[in-house]
Subunit: 106 residues, 4 copies
């Protein structure tokens, strides 16, 4: 995410004095709530969905994730790369290729 | 997110031939599932949490969001800025400052 | 749910002195967390699932719902009938039959 | 749940010809979606909440759980008692009393 967008997200919270509500727990709840709204786009159908709604709800999830990264002082790239390293070990290509099996059943 | 990290996420999916499982609906389900695991870090307490678990689960949500942006051919900054524009209108500073009231009750 | 089963659920919490963790908020979080685990049974496929896992996770959701009814002093039948009344009005048969459209778009 | 309430729930679905939408996967998604709306009552506060909203959203979760029990031909008491048996073993009173530790860390 471009620094200008990141700054827009931060300013939005600051201008409204909303940091007081942004405990890690409240942000985790918010991420789930928005993820549920995203899922609602697919509630009755897997194949048909309103792209505009999906875009909005996905943006909501992403923004709260950004809020949580900031609240915890995390660098997004560092955080994601750390997890990708674990994922690559949990799902070696030769074992996992073409299968959606969970790692503990591989 | 840095292009090197984005590429790492894409390569992870490609190497394992997992794109076949990445329908928008499956990705929406995955985002909710990981968001639930993130919330689990705060299940019984708002104030105490294991930072390492929170970091892992947050990374999982972020990675699936990236997968979904890619699947839908969306640019993250464009997508987020579009929504921030709507948020700024829904929550004018003079009405929303210091309050966590939902926009339809402002 | 049979009174013997309800009593078993209550005794489980009492024996372990777990009521202290059963704030309405913690129970709401728990319901979401278990619902996410239920959804995980369908993460990559809509049609194939492990029935034993689905049964377990569904039971977990149901048990936490029972905990929350108890915590709030609600009668399940009263609570459900109140909502069914609203649902029947929101989704009149002549308008809603055969369609999965949300009520505000009917 | 009283047989009259159960029958009301079934009739609601039948009258609207909605069984076609009630695949186990769609019902699992619905349970999560409503659980997210229940959680929204506690999004910014653990202690203050609108009881009427909580009651409505809890009822929604319970109704979809009932739909899923029916779809899978499960008896609620049997299903819950099976899981309570496992819970009682996973969380022996002498180890679990007064603690909210997950079973794999007991």
């Amino acid at each position: 995410m471009n620094p200008v967008t990141i700054e827009r997200i931060r300013k939005f919270t600051e201008d409204r004095d909303w940091d007081q509500f942004h405990s890690p727990a409240n942000l985790a709840k918010s991420i789930v709530i928005e993820a549920g709204e995203l899922l609602e786009c697919f509630q009755w159908s897997e194949n048909e969905f309103e792209i505009e709604n999906v875009k909005e709800e996905l943006a909501d999830v992403i923004v709260y994730c950004r809020n949580l990264l900031d609240k915890l002082g995390l660098d997004e790239d560092e955080n994601v790369n750390e997890k990708m390293e674990k994922n690559e070990k949990k799902y070696p290509v030769d074992k996992a290729k073409g299968k959606n099996t969970k790692y503990d059943k591989l």
